[in-house]
C-alpha cells in the first residue's frame, strides 16, 4: 500500500559530521519522494518529538522513519500510536564503525536509508487475529504441582479444570510419610500438608476436579483448546501403543535422513489433524474448552529390577525408597519378609555403570530422601542404625542444615560408597560396597536395604497430552529427556504454545520446588489466555499483533511449513495444504523462510519486503571495485552484537549491509537468488549457536538456515557462481569482537573472485 512517509535524520552522535546529510536527504526526497524529510540532532528530545507529532497530524503521515541511533534505544520515545515507525541504524552500524566523510560510508548510509524506506512502504494493513477465546485453564495432574498450579490460577480469578487419573487427588504425596517443609529451623521433617491442599482444591469454586479421568485428546490452539476428558480405562494402553509406534516411525524416518515430506499417512495415526467431521465419540466423556494448559503429570519411580546385583525382587527386604515411604507410614519399621523390627538399614544409590546417565532422574532429591528415611528409623527406634552410602551428598541450600543434624546423630553412618552386591547373610542381608571412605571394599550386614530410585517424567512412554497436532501427540523432548525448550533463560517455554510444564515432569524436584514451579506455570498460563484474547503473541515476541497469512491458492502442498515450524503451528487440510492455527504461532517466521512458493507473510514482515530491500540497494558496476555483501543477521543476538561492535568503535568493511531477520530460520532462499541476480558479490548469514546446547530462541531456526544453505548449490550452479560466495556463521551475542574478523575474512575470500557478473542487469 502507499504510505505517506516522514523521514527524520538524526545529526547528533557525530552523524552530522561524518555524513553528507544533504545527499542523504536527497535519497529520501529525490529517489523516493517522501512527504517529509528533516535533519536535526537528537530527535528523542521532547520538543523534537513534538515536531514529528505535528507532521504526523498536519501531513497525515502514515509512517515515520527515524534514521539515527540503533532501534535498541528510544523505542518508547519513537512510538507514535498507529503510525508505523521504522528505524534506520546510522549510528552503531554506520558512523561508529566506518570512517567519517568517506565515500563508502556515505554509500552505506544511503543504502540503509533506501532499505528503510522500501521496508516501510511494504507494510500492509491487516487486522490482528481476533477470535472468541476462552480464558479457562486445564491442569493435567492432581499431585502437589497440579493442585498448586490450579489453586494459584484460581486465586487469580481464572476457571480451572483439574484432571487426575487416580481416583483421588494428592499424587505421590499421599503415600509420603513425612516431607521437608523448607521452613526454619530446617532440621525437622513434618507430616505432608497434602490433605489441606486437597481440601483447598475441592473447596474452591473456580476449580472443577476430574479424578479417575485422563485427557483423551486435545485439539485446537491457545485460547481455544478443545479437551476431551475420559474416565480412565484400558483405552489408554492402546493409545500409548499407538503413540510409541508413531514415535518409532518418526525416529526411523529421521534416522534415514528423510526430511522430505512424502510420509505415508499411515505412520501418523494419532497425529493427523484434519478438517474432517469430528469423530463419533461413543464413550462417556466430557468436553471442555480452555485457553491454556499446565502439564503437571509428575513422575513414576524408575524401574530398578534390572539392577539384579542389588537383590531387588529377589529379597523382600530390599525395597525402593518409594516403597519404604509406605512402610514408614505404619509407625515402627518392620521387615517386609517376616515382620520383625528393623534395627539397621543400608540406603544405597542405584548406580549402574551400564546405564548412560545413572542419576539423570535421581540426583536432585536422592540424598534428601535417604536422610529423611534414616530419620524415620532413628525416630522410631533409638537403637536403630542407618547406613547411608552416596556418591555425592547433595543437600542444597538450607537443606544442608538437615544434613548437619543427621551428621550429629551417632546412629547415622554416612559414607561415600557404591553398592556392588546385596546378598543373604545369616541374620539378614549383606551389602558389599566399593569406593568407600573406609577403604576400597567393605561389607556390612543389615536388616533392610533401601534403593534410592530415580524419578522418571510421566511423559516418558506414555500418552498424556494426546494432541491432535500435525506434528504429533506430545511435546518434543529436549536433549535431557524433558520437555522444556528454552533451558536456562526461559524455563517455561515449550515447543507447543500455550502448554506449560511444571513439577517433576520437568525435572526431579522436592516438594517445595514443585510448589514454586507450579506458581510460575500458573502465571504463564494466565499470560497466554490474556494475550491471546487481545490477538497478541506470547513470549518471546509478546505483544506482536501480526501473524502469518498464507496465499493458499499458490500452495504446492510441499509441507515444509508444517514440518519445519518448531511450534507445531500448522495442521493439515485433507488436500495437503497447511491449516494455520495463528494462536499457536510464536512469530519467528521460520515458515516464511521454509516456503519455496513465498506465500507466507506477515503484515510487517514479508518475503516481498526483504526481497525488495535487497533489490533496492545500489550496486556499483563491476569496474568500480566496490563489491557488495548482504549479511542476514538474527535480530536477537547477531544484530545486537553488530551494535556492540559499533559501540566499541570496531571497524569493518563498508561494503557490507546487515539485514535483520526475526530468526535466522526466517531466511528464504529467494532472497539469496534476489541478491545474487542483483549483482551482490557475497552473502553471509549470522545466527545463533545450534546443536544440543542451542542458543536459538526458536529452538532450531539457525540450524534450519544452515540446512537450507547446504542446498543452495543448485541456485549457484544455475547462476554459474562460486559456492564460497555464501557463508553461514554462528555467533554468540558476546562475540561481537569477532565481527570485523568474520566480515573482513569474507571480503578477503571474495577478493579472489571476479565481481558478480550480474551487476547492472
Amino acid at each position: 500500500m502507499d504510505h505517506k512517509i516522514g523521514v527524520y535524520i538524526d545529526t547528533g552522535y557525530g552523524i552530522g559530521e561524518a555524513l553528507d546529510i544533504e545527499a542523504l536527504s536527497a535519497v529520501a526526497t529525490g529517489e523516493f519522494k517522501v512527504a517529509v524529510c528533516k535533519a536535526e540532532p537528537y530527535w528523542n528530545e521532547p520538543e523534537k518529538l513534538a515536531i514529528i507529532r505535528n507532521d504526523i497530524a498536519n501531513e497525515s503521515l502514515t509512517a515515520v522513519i527515524i534514521a539515527g541511533p540503533s532501534p535498541r534505544v528510544f523505542q518508547q520515545e519513537f512510538s507514535f500510536g498507529e503510525v508505523i515507525t521504522e528505524r534506520v541504524n546510522l549510528r552503531e552500524h554506520v558512523v561508529w564503525s566506518h570512517p567519517a566523510n568517506d565515500e563508502d560510508t556515505q554509500m552505506l548510509a544511503e543504502d540503509y536509508l533506501r532499505m528503510g524506506i522500501i521496508k516501510t512502504s511494504k507494510y500492509v494493513d491487516r487486522e490482528p487475529f481476533m477470535e472468541e477465546t476462552d480464558k479457562s485453564i486445564l491442569v493435567i495432574g492432581g499431585g502437589v504441582t497440579g493442585m498448586t498450579a490450579a489453586l494459584e490460577a484460581a486465586k487469580a480469578g481464572y476457571q480451572v479444570y483439574l484432571v487426575e487419573k487416580e481416583p483421588r487427588l494428592g499424587g505421590w504425596a499421599n503415600s509420603f510419610h513425612k516431607v521437608f517443609t523448607g521452613q526454619p529451623p530446617y532440621d525437622e521433617i513434618k507430616d505432608s500438608p497434602i490433605q489441606e491442599k486437597i481440601k483447598a482444591v475441592n473447596d474452591h469454586d473456580k476449580i472443577k476436579v476430574f479424578t479417575g479421568n485422563r485427557v483423551f485428546s486435545i485439539s485446537g490452539a491457545p485460547g481455544m483448546f478443545d479437551v476431551i476428558i475420559r474416565p480412565d480405562g484400558p483405552w489408554i494402553e492402546k493409545l500409548v501403543k499407538e503413540q510409541n509406534e508413531w514415535l518409532a516411525a518418526k525416529k526411523a524416518k529421521e534416522a534415514a535422513g528423510g526430511e522430505e515430506a512424502e510420509t505415508p499417512k499411515t505412520a501418523e495415526p494419532a497425529a493427523a489433524a484434519e478438517e474432517e467431521p469430528p469423530e463419533e465419540i461413543d464413550f462417556a466423556h466430557e468436553t471442555v474448552r480452555v485457553g491454556a494448559i499446565i502439564l503437571a503429570a509428575g513422575w513414576r519411580p524408575e524401574d530398578v529390577s534390572n539392577r539384579k546385583n542389588l537383590g531387588y525382587g529377589q529379597y523382600p527386604d530390599v525395597v525402593t525408597s518409594v516403597e519404604f515411604e509406605e512402610i514408614a507410614t505404619k509407625g515402627k519399621i518392620s521387615r517386609p519378609s517376616d515382620g520383625k523390627p528393623v534395627n539397621s538399614i543400608a540406603f544405597v544409590e542405584a548406580i549402574d555403570d551400564e546405564v548412560k546417565h545413572p542419576l539423570q532422574y535421581a540426583s536432585s532429591v536422592g540424598s534428601l530422601v535417604a536422610l529423611k528415611q534414616a530419620h524415620y528409623l532413628r525416630s522410631t527406634n533409638p537403637e536403630g542404625k542407618a547406613f547411608i552410602f552416596y556418591e555425592n551428598m547433595r543437600t542444597p541450600g538450607q537443606y544442608e542444615k538437615f544434613y548437619q543434624t543427621m551428621q550429629d546423630d551417632p546412629g547415622v553412618f554416612m559414607s561415600r560408597g557404591v553398592p556392588v552386591a546385596v546378598g543373604n547373610g545369616t541374620a539378614g542381608l549383606t551389602v558389599e560396597l566399593k569406593d568407600t571412605l573406609l577403604g576400597e571394599q567393605m561389607k556390612i550386614g543389615v536388616d533392610m536395604v533401601v534403593i534410592s530410585t530415580g524419578m522418571v517424567p510421566a511423559t516418558k512412554d506414555s500418552a498424556i497430552l494426546n494432541l491432535k497436532y500435525r506434528q504429533g501427540p506430545f511435546l518434543p523432548e529436549n536433549p535431557y529427556g524433558f520437555t522444556d525448550s528454552h533451558f536456562i533463560c526461559f524455563p517455561y517455554e515449550t515447543q507447543r504454545t500455550g502448554i506449560y510444564v511444571a513439577g517433576c515432569v520437568r525435572m526431579p524436584l522436592d516438594f517445595q520446588s514443585c510448589e514454586l514451579d507450579a506458581a510460575g506455570a500458573a502465571l504463564k498460563a494466565i499470560q497466554c489466555v490474556e494475550l491471546v484474547a487481545q490477538g497478541k503473541a506470547v513470549h518471546p515476541r509478546a505483544g506482536d499483533q501480526s501473524y502469518p497469512e498464507l496465499m493458499i491458492t499458490r500452495c504446492t502442498q510441499c509441507k515444509r511449513c508444517t514440518e519445519e515450524c518448531p511450534f507445531g503451528m500448522y495442521d493439515e487440510k485433507p488436500d495437503g495444504t497447511p491449516l494455520p492455527n495463528p494462536t499457536r504461532c510464536r512469530r519467528c517466521a521460520i515458515c516464511m523462510g521454509s516456503c519455496p512458493e513465498r506465500i507466507i507473510s506477515f503484515r510487517d514482515h514479508s518475503v516481498d519486503m526483504i526481497g525488495s530491500m535487497v533489490k533496492g540497494m545500489h550496486v556499483p558496476d563491476e569496474y568500480s571495485e566496490k563489491p557488495r555483501v548482504v549479511v542476514f543477521v538474527c535480530e536477537n543476538d547477531a544484530y545486537p552484537a553488530v551494535d556492540m561492535a559499533g559501540i566499541n568503535r570496531l571497524q569493518y568493511s563498508s561494503f557490507v549491509r546487515f539485514i535483520p531477520l526475526r530468526c535466522l530460520g526466517n531466511i528464504n532462499m529467494v532472497w539469496i537468488a534476489d541478491a545474487l541476480s542483483k549483482g551482490i558479490d557475497g552473502i553471509m548469514l549470522i545466527g545463533c549457536k545450534y546443536g544440543d546446547d542451542y542458543q536459538c530462541h526458536f529452538v532450531k531456526g539457525s540450524e534450519l538456515a544452515q540446512y537450507r544453505m547446504s542446498k543452495i548449490s543448485e541456485t549457484l550452479q544455475r547462476l554459474v557462481l562460486e559456492s564460497e560466495r555464501i557463508e553461514v556463521h554462528q555467533l554468540s551475542i558476546d562475540e561481537y569482537h569477532r565481527i570485523p574478523e568474520i566480515v573482513d575474512a569474507f571480503m578477503e575470500t571474495l577478493s579472489g573472485f571476479d565481481p558478480n557478473p550480474y551487476k547492472g542487469f
Binding site: G12, Y13, P41, Y42, E45, R72, V73, Q75, Q76, E152, A156, G157, G182, P184, P185, H357, Q360, N392, M393, R394, P396, G397, Q398, Y399, E400, K401, Q404, Y480, I488, C489, F490, P491, Y492, S513, L516, D517, A518, A519, G520, A521, A522, L523, K524, Q527, E530, H539, P540, A542, N636, D637, P640, M644, I647, N648, D693, Q695, S732, I733, D734, E735
Partner: protein, 421 residues
C-alpha cells in the same frame, strides 16, 4: 482481570526483571527499582551460564527488549526503597532516586574517553579502573552514562576538566555535579522483593589467602577475568604478572557449608567451578584445572554436564577440603593445603592461581526489607510468605533458571494481590 493495578518490584537483577516483565505481560503495571545504574544485577557480570556455556547477555538482551517494548514497566535505576507501608492491595512506598550527574542521549564509554578522572571499576569487582563518567557496560539498560560526582569534583577546577565538559557538550552530554537525589512516593497493590545476593566476603576466610596472595581470586572475579568486556578483555591471566594461567585450582565451599561462615550450601558453586574449568580449558588448551570439593553437587540435569566435564582428563577432581592457602613469595604461585577425604592423606600442591568458590549471601541478611511483618531465617533469607513476596536468592540459594521460575511464580502472587480485594 488485573486492571491497571501496580506491582512494585525491588531489585533489578534477573529475578526482579523477570517478575516485573511476567507481571506486566499478564496485564499488570510494574515499577522496577534497582540500586545500581543498570539492570541485570549479578547476571550482567557473568561471563557464561552453566551448563551450556552460553552468554547471559543473550537472555538479558531478550528481556531488555521486552522492557523497551513494554510501556507498562517503569524502571528506576540508582534507586532504593526507603519504606513500605500498607498491605496487599494497597501499599505505599517511598523511593529515593540518586542522580546520574550526567545527561546524555544514550552515549557510550567511547564517547567520554577524555574524562580526566578515574575510579575503581565496581563492575569488574575492582580489578581495573574506569573513567568517572562511563556507561556501566556496553549492553547496559538503560543505555545511559553515569558519573561519579565525588571523583569529578576533585578535578573540577582543572583545564582538562573544562575541556572535557566542552567536548561533552558537543556530543550532547551534559554534566551536573550538583544534582540532588529525589524522593518519590508510589502506590502499589503488591510488592515483590528480589534484592538477590552478594558474594560472601572472601577476606573473612582468613586462611584462604584472599587479599594476601596476589593470585587468589574469587569465582565472581573469574567471571570478569574471562569476559570479553572484562578487565583483561577475556585473557585469563594471573593478577600478579599477567601470565596466562596454566594450572588453576578451584577451592569449593569457600565459606559455604561452614558453620563459622555460611552454614548452608550455596547450591551453585560446584557447577560454577565446573563451568569455569571448562572455559579455562577452552581458552588455553594447555591448561589444567583441579577442583577440590567435599561433595560435587551437580543436581538434576546438571549431572550430564558433570559427566561431560569429567571426560576431560585435564580437569582433575579431588574430594577434599582446602584449609590453607599461602603464596611462594618469589614466583607468586599459590600453595594449597588440606586433606584428601578418600585417601586420608594431606594435600599440599602448588598452582598458578586459585579461585575461591565463594558462596551466595542474601542481601537481606545485611539490608532488611523496610516494612513490617517480614521474617527471616538465621541466615538472613526471607521466610515469610504473606504480604511482601520474596523471590529468587532472597529466599534461598538458586541457580538462574530456578530464579526465573520463582520470579514468574512471584508474579502470580502479585497478580492475586490485585484482584478480589
Amino acid at each position: 482481570m488485573a486492571g491497571d493495578k501496580t506491582v512494585l518490584v525491588v531489585g533489578g537483577g534477573i529475578s526482579g526483571i523477570t517478575a516485573a516483565l511476567e507481571a506486566a505481560e499478564a496485564g499488570c503495571k510494574a515499577i522496577l527499582v534497582e540500586k545500581e545504574p543498570y539492570l541485570g544485577g549479578r547476571v550482567a557480570r557473568m561471563n557464561k551460564y552453566f551448563p551450556k556455556l552460553c552468554p547471559p547477555n543473550c537472555g538479558l538482551e531478550i528481556n531488555f527488549r521486552r522492557l523497551r517494548k513494554n510501556p507498562d514497566v517503569t524502571v528506576y535505576t540508582l534507586a532504593t526503597v526507603e519504606s513500605i507501608t500498607g498491605a496487599p492491595g494497597a501499599y505505599t512506598a517511598t523511593i529515593k532516586i540518586s542522580p546520574r550527574y550526567v545527561r546524555d542521549h544514550t552515549a557510550t564509554s567511547k564517547c567520554v574517553e577524555d574524562c580526566p578522572a578515574e575510579i575503581p571499576n565496581d563492575f569488574n569487582y575492582g580489578m581495573d579502573k574506569v573513567h568517572a563518567v562511563r556507561l556501566p557496560y556496553e549492553m547496559a539498560y538503560p543505555m545511559s552514562l553515569v558519573a561519579d560526582a565525588q571523583a569529578l569534583k576533585k578535578v573540577e577546577g582543572t583545564a582538562e576538566y573544562k575541556a572535557f565538559v566542552e567536548s561533552c557538550k558537543a556530543k550532547g552530554i551534559e554534566l551536573d555535579l550538583d544534582a540532588q537525589p529525589e524522593t518519590i512516593e508510589v502506590k502499589a497493590s503488591s510488592v515483590v522483593w528480589a534484592t538477590g545476593w552478594r558474594p560472601y566476603d572472601p577476606t573473612k576466610l582468613d586462611k584462604l589467602g584472599f587479599g594476601t596472595c596476589a593470585n587468589v581470586i574469587t569465582n565472581v572475579m573469574m567471571e570478569r577475568l574471562a569476559a570479553a568486556n572484562g578487565p583483561t578483555k577475556g585473557e585469563i591471566v594471573r593478577p600478579s604478572d599477567g601470565k596466562k594461567v596454566n594450572n588453576v585450582a578451584f577451592v569449593q565451599c569457600a565459606g559455604s557449608r561452614d558453620r563459622n561462615h555460611l552454614p548452608y550450601c550455596s547450591s551453585i558453586c560446584c557447577l560454577a567451578s565446573l563451568k569455569q574449568a571448562v572455559y579455562v580449558r577452552e581458552y588455553n588448551p594447555d591448561a589444567r584445572a583441579h577442583i577440590f570439593y567435599i561433595d560435587l553437587r551437580a543436581y538434576g540435569r546438571f549431572e550430564f554436564f558433570y559427566e561431560k566435564v569429567r571426560e576431560d582428563e585435564n580437569i582433575l577432581f579431588t574430594k577434599g577440603k582446602i584449609v590453607n592457602i599461602t603464596e611462594d613469595p618469589k614466583t607468586k604461585d599459590v600453595i594449597l593445603e588440606g586433606e584428601d577425604i578418600l585417601s586420608g592423606e594431606k594435600i599440599r600442591r602448588t598452582f598458578d592461581m586459585a579461585v575461591l568458590a565463594t558462596g551466595m549471601q542474601p542481601n537481606t541478611s545485611i539490608e532488611k526489607i523496610p516494612a513490617a511483618g517480614v521474617s527471616y531465617d538465621e541466615f538472613g533469607f526471607v521466610i515469610s510468605d504473606q504480604g511482601i513476596h520474596a523471590t529468587g536468592v532472597t529466599k534461598r540459594p538458586m541457580d538462574v533458571g530456578t530464579c526465573m521460575q520463582d520470579a514468574t511464580g512471584a508474579a502470580v502472587k502479585a497478580l492475586q494481590d490485585t484482584v478480589g480485594r
